[in-house]
């Protein structure tokens, strides 16, 4: 009996934690307008999970850590909560003539929470530190376009600074890239590009225990596994000021418990709902107008690895894609928390075109024809980590394929996200594999380069098409943004023809708020847009 106690506990916690681990990003907004006055001195609590890494911007790329750090740091560029459109936040201006040399002026009079002024060198020093191989930051590769990155990111770097970074004066610095990269000015809104105060460099470890930033909220205290407390930074200059006073990121071991707290208004915001609340669409009646819907920037797909025998077959790819009834699965299995995907880029991203994936419609008749043509015999498999609600839609996809093609299809579970990613990264898939992507920053480039370039960091199907590589490289190097997007689209067209991955669905982003909150929006990265939070006055 004692064994069953541990076992069930383990299952429950694994499921929750894995759900959080795998949920890394996406985009959009949900809004509930209330009426009446706003309490500017209210305290707000949001659902949180324990950060996976030390609290340094360049070492934080998962939701738990981002939730605490995002409001503490303001980068050069911010993204609008509704549209994910970038705007100058700390930057006064970002100018370039060739998309290779960027001249960045920062706003004057901004302060870090310790009272020191934010100067150009705070950015340059922070970027050099983060890219330095010696410091082993998780997000180091975000700086890869900058000239001198290759030298500094080495194991024992001989240099301490990237040659592409130059401080012009206190409020201006210049960034030279290895080659033109038109998306750079959008990319630098990512948390890793935040400035760091001088205090950081004296003792990074102490800093990680009590980070000092330049954002709308400042760090107050942290009890590991319990909570993180932040409070409004009164001297904050940015336009994303917060309209409440204190923020508590409360760490929960179980999403279910957090949901119970949300329903009884003891917790103010949750950006995700537990599987039990989603089952049968229960969340809709539970939450009513307290439901917060967003538009995450991310996409779920099935990777068909070229290295698996039999899968390197275009007709088979087409057959599988046509055999999946996306509409039906999204509605019945995912309870409307996802929408069917029809391309390789999320809706709402500049450059998105509807219906790019011509084989993403459900058409069992055509599917059967292609399957017959492919000559494939044997069983099909879809592999994924099975926890956190990943299994059910994929089992449904398998059934859909089975019914349409009359072929055996099995779901192959992996124990957890870590094991799952090591299977994919070590190229040990034996069939199809779940391949989800959450955008780091809102740009069409971020959907294509990592996933479909032959050298891409997340190219799970080992796709290699020199024409696509060439187009992507050319697009990266095109200074004119509109022209660059055209080139990215051309690459996407080629990808859609090859079907290295089968797009299946996109997560909408469904959360909930307490009835104390008048407004809150969910941003594209599945975080609360803190600037949009308003608490009703009592």
């Amino acid at each position: 009996m004692r064994a069953s106690r541990g076992f069930w506990g383990a299952t429950a916690v694994v499921a929750t934690a894995a759900l959080l681990l795998t949920a890394c990003g996406g985009g959009g907004s949900g809004e509930n307008k209330g009426s009446g006055a706003t309490d500017a001195n209210a305290a707000v609590s949001v659902y949180g999970t324990e950060p996976e890494n030390s609290l340094i911007p360049a070492n934080t790329n998962e939701l738990g850590g981002s939730k605490a750090l995002k409001p503490v740091f303001s980068a050069l560029v911010g993204y609008k909560a509704d549209t994910a459109e970038p705007y100058n936040l700390m930057a006064e201006s970002i100018t370039t003539t060739d998309s290779k040399v960027f001249d960045i002026k920062i706003k004057k009079g901004w302060k870090f929470h310790d009272g020191t002024e934010v100067k150009a060198k705070n950015f340059v020093d922070a970027w050099n530190y983060s890219a330095n191989g010696k410091n082993g930051m998780q997000n180091a590769s975000f700086f890869e376009q900058i000239q001198g990155y290759d030298e500094i990111s080495a194991k024992e770097p001989a240099v301490k600074e990237m040659s592409g970074l130059k401080v012009v004066n206190d409020y201006e610095f210049q960034v030279t890239l290895k080659g033109p990269f038109s998306v750079f000015s959008t990319k630098i809104g990512y948390l890793a590009f935040a400035p760091l105060p001088d205090k950081f460099f004296a003792d990074p470890e102490a800093f990680a225990k009590a980070p000092i930033g330049n954002g709308p909220l400042k760090f107050v205290s942290r009890t590991p596994n319990q909570n993180m407390k932040l409070t409004r930074f009164e001297e904050y200059q940015g336009e994303d000021k917060v309209k409440f006073k204190d923020l508590e990121v409360r760490i929960y071991t179980s999403q279910e418990t957090a949901y119970q707290d949300l329903l009884s208004n003891r917790l103010d915001f949750m950006e995700a709902l537990p599987p039990a609340a989603k089952a049968g669409g229960k969340y809709k009646t539970d939450l009513g107008e307290r439901l917060v819907e967003g538009k995450l920037l991310g996409i779920s797909a099935l990777a068909l690895p070229y290295y698996v025998p039999g899968y390197n077959n275009l007709d088979l790819r087409k057959a599988i894609s046509l055999a999946i009834d996306r509409e039906q699965i999204v509605k019945t299995v995912m309870n409307d928390t996802y929408a069917p995907a029809d391309g390789y880029v999320s809706r709402g991203i500049e450059g998105y075109r509807p219906g790019i994936c011509e084989y993403c419609e459900f058409d069992p008749v055509k599917a059967k024809e292609f399957f017959a043509k492919s000559g494939y015999t044997g069983k099909l498999t879809i592999a994924s980590n099975a926890d956190g609600g990943r299994k059910e839609p994929l089992v449904a996809a398998c059934n859909s394929i089975k019914n349409a093609l009359g072929v055996e299809c099995d779901f192959v579970p992996a124990t957890d996200f870590g094991q799952w990613r090591s299977i994919v990264n070590n190229r040990q898939l034996t069939g199809m594999g779940r391949s989800d992507w959450a955008a780091d920053y809102p740009s069409i480039e971020n959907y294509l380069n990592p996933r479909y370039k032959s050298t891409g960091s997340s190219n799970d199907s080992t796709y290699n098409n020199p024409a696509v590589d060439a187009l992507l490289t050319q697009a990266d190097q095109t200074a004119d943004k509109a022209a660059a997007i055209k080139l990215y689209q051309q690459a996407e067209d080629l990808i859609a023809k090859d079907l290295p991955q089968i797009p299946v669905w996109e997560e909408k982003g469904v959360g909930g708020k307490s009835n104390r909150l008048k407004t809150v929006k969910l941003d594209f990265g599945r975080l609360a847009d803190y600037a949009s939070i308003e608490v009703a006055a009592k």
């Binding site: 009996m1 930051m137 179980s254």
Partner: protein, 308 residues
Amino acid sequence: MSQYILRRLLQLIPVFFGTTFLIYALVWAVPGDPFAGKCGQVACPPAYIEMMTAKFNLDDSIFVQYFKYLGNLFTGDWGETFNGVSVGELIGNAYPVTVRLALIAVAIEAIIGLSAGILTGLRGKGFLDNLVLMSTTFLISIPVFVTAIVLQIVLGSELGLIDASVSEDATIGELIVPGIALGSLSMAYIARLTRTSIAENRHADYVRTAVAKGQPRSRVVGVHLLRNSVIPVLTFIGTDIGALMGGAIVTEGVFNINGIGGLIFRGIQNREGATVTGVVVLLVMVYLLVSLTVDLLYAVLDPRIRYD
């Protein structure tokens, strides 16, 4: 007696090394890369992996790793988690809450379980006996996570008597409902154990003698009968204290209590050997000391038991 205690304390040493090594090896020797899922959908940069590997001595053999860990442990350094928090601090935050929770659970199960057991054991078959039999069977058959969630939803969300989660301070009042959930299973066992034990001893010679001597009933039951009957129950409660410390994973998870159970679970999940080993060292100590105390109590309760 003192020799016996000394011998028992010396036995702690091999047990300590044995368990810690086993746990350490089990956590770190699990196949697979602890950093595989760390960076999301993308593989982690080599510089990061190298730094973490060096920091946690993962390149060394498991024995070298273990001795390095022990070396640090003896200087009072419990190590760090992957996110740079000291394990000592984590345990320091977590154990007072868990101790409080475990004590509440033990108090609840001892008081209710013992009284139900004594009452039914003395009276024998009847309505009360059947009632206790049925309710304990019911409690034994439902897993703790069901009890906990039902209590949470009914008393919390439906009736609004308690909060769904326990606050930062985790006061005694807040811990009573989680304590009931945690102790419910053992409560049922204690009731049954006590009942059987009392029912058996009721007809023992020494009870008959006491009654024949004309001792009042309260003294016969309270001193002669109970003192002897409680020995097996005591063994159970003793080991249960250890089990409650470590086994509170579910209850702590449901009520969001930041205790030892959650800590050990997260540690296993994130493959943080330092956390898991640290907590297990603590639990082993608790188990050993509690069972030593229980053994010593035997002698006090039953003069026939001697340790020479």
